[in-house]
Amino acid sequence: MSAPQRLSVENLSIEFGGVHAVEDVSFDVEPGETFAIIGPNGAGKSTIFNLISRLYQPTSGSIHYGEQDLLRLPAHKVVYTGIGRTFQNIELFEQATVLQNLLVGRHAHMRRNPFSDFLFWPGVRKSEIEHRAKVEDIIDLLEIAQYRDERIADLPYGARKNVELARALCAEPSLLLLDEPASGLNNEETDDISFYLEDVKHDLGITLVMVEHDMNLVGQVADRVMAINDGRLLAIGSPDEVRENPDVQRAYLGVTE
């Protein structure tokens, strides 16, 4: 696994038609820290993620991961720089088993050649077993062994969230974008997620960037928080600083002085 780098986003903007979904947002994420992005619905949090993973083309601005200029890469190359991600609405391969999903997570690290795969040469079997061993490490870390051979379509929602986190980890990212890891989970499951995220951070040394609404979870795991509203940056700082910020309170509660 490559060492974590600094993620630096400068003056990032994107327009959809006339709508400024993200406008002139800049922030840095230091290697090894946990960075949370908060904001009301439609503030542009997920859009920032989609810009970083190159699913959207920004109107202006730059995104660098270490020395690498991400805007020069197509979306499927982003994972090779060490940036992995999960999705708000869970994008697992539904008709495949958990194990197959996790093995697709290894895709960026596997050599593949349709001809040798068709003939299943000994080299292919060897590589399958090596990558399977890596997948098993992640299965142990997130304690999803009991689901290993289940089809995703047969899993409950909470388990799917865990599997999606596991699949992102299988790519051995050095920075992980988590889009609402606790959405739709009950209190107990949210506690589990925060526990797993601590594990991921300490055992694997991965930089975490997360979009999250659950302020308890943000307070528990985040080192720094960025608040945005209507595509604009409101505040960056420690969770308490951001919570006390009058602009942030106004955006959430509509307080007028």
Binding site: N50, S53, L55, P74, A75, H76, K77, V78, V79, Y80, G84, R85, F87, Q88, N89, I90, E91, L92, F93, E94, Q95, A96, L99, Q100, L103, V104, G105, H107, A108, M110, R111, R112, N113, P114, D117, F118, L119, F120, V124, R125, E128, I129, R132, A133, A153, D154, Y157, R160, R167, A171
Partner: protein, 358 residues
């Protein structure tokens, strides 16, 4: 109920894990190998044709069932394989060279189609592949200097390594040889990275892309491999037909291939084989019906397409997972007896999926 005790990662790579599966597959392979001993020539030729359609079905299954790219023009690839093989044989190329060259040509055309289809979804893809099928059929009809046009083209007799294989049983073994290779190869694909990337593209292009899968390239690959396998089936089919005409490879043939994999069960290799069995048995059943039914109904033109359509409609309504799904249920019933319930296979609810980005 049988519990599998796994002790090595190889246990998950192995094709057939359970004893029952091993026994069933062994029985089928032994039956196929021994078939010439007890089957009459007519039935043996039909069985050979069934194997050829199973190959074509596996080809289309890789694309439509596993990669999620529908194709209404696959008879075009069947035709490219058949015509290329016949023309190359007529120019004196050996059988082995010719059949692989025809499959490769179909594969290249498939990749070209995949290149243009790789950004299309759903309805547009269906129309594009349909247009491709019609285009290829027209090409066979008009390019008469090579294909013989509507007059047709005679297929040279089957000769492998200088041996003339004109007997039905000899041809049958050639079909069986290629069928076993293609089925094993396709199964291999799905226990290795290439096949998994196909399934990933089918189930979620978005996350496949974010995990490093080059979605466009995977679709081009899927079209290429699928077309090559179907082209191979076409080359074998040419020896069964002995005389090629453009309308054999028309839209109806494409639909027949598509219906075959739908009835068999999308997304499984076994489904393609089951579908081929249905397609091959159907004409026998229909001719039997014609004898039984009163002449007024039995002799009516269009009875075949009607029954064909009826079967498809019934399958889609009552068993969307096809014959494969039914087979799974029967197996599950016996394996878990007496715990099977009607709701055992009811689909769980699907959670919201992101549809904005593909």
């Amino acid at each position: 109920m049988q519990f599998l005790f796994k002790t090595a990662y190889n246990d998950d790579i192995r094709f057939l894990a359970k004893t029952g599966e091993k026994v069933r597959v062994a029985i089928v392979v032994l039956f196929l190998l021994a078939a010439p001993l007890f089957l009459q020539d007519y039935y043996l030729a039909e069985l050979g044709l069934l194997l050829v359609y199973a190959i074509a079905g596996v080809g289309l299954m890789l694309l439509t069932g596993h990669t999620g790219q529908v194709s209404f023009g696959h008879a075009g690839f069947l035709g490219i394989g058949a015509y290329a093989h016949s023309v190359l044989l007529a120019h004196g190329l050996p059988f082995i060279v010719s059949i692989f060259a025809s499959a490769a040509l179909a594969g290249l055309v498939g990749m070209a189609l995949g290149r243009s289809a790789s950004k299309m979804h759903g309805f547009y893809l269906a129309i594009a592949t349909l247009a491709f099928g019609i285009l290829i059929e027209t090409l066979f009809g008009e390019w008469s200097s090579v294909t013989g046009g509507h007059m047709g083209l005679a297929v040279p007799s089957l000769q492998v390594f200088g041996m003339s294989l004109t007997e039905v049983w000899q041809q049958y073994y050639v079909d069986l040889f290629f069928a076993l290779i293609v089925i094993a190869g396709a199964a291999n694909l799905f226990r290795s990275p290439t096949g998994r990337s196909f399934v990933a593209v089918r189930d979620s292009e978005l996350s496949a892309r974010c995990l490093g899968v080059n979605v466009e390239w995977v679709k081009i690959q899927a079209f290429g491999i699928s077309a090559a396998i179907t082209g191979l089936a076409g080359a074998l089919l040419a020896h069964h037909l002995t005389y090629l005409a453009p309308d054999v490879f028309g839209v109806l043939e494409s639909l027949k291939l598509l219906l075959m994999i739908v009835v068999g069960g999308l997304g499984t290799i076994l489904g393609a084989i089951l579908g081929a069995i249905v397609i091959s048995l159907l004409p026998v059943g229909i001719s039997f019906l014609k004898g039984v039914l009163p002449a007024g109904i039995g002799q009516t033109a269009g009875l075949e397409p009607l029954l064909f359509g009826l079967i498809i409609v019934l399958v889609i309504i009552f068993e969307p997972a096809g014959l494969y799904g039914r087979w799974m249920k029967i197996r599950f019933f016996f394996e878990t007896f007496p715990y099977y319930r009607k709701s055992s296979f009811v689909r769980q609810k699907t959670y919201l999926k992101t549809d904005r980005m593909r």
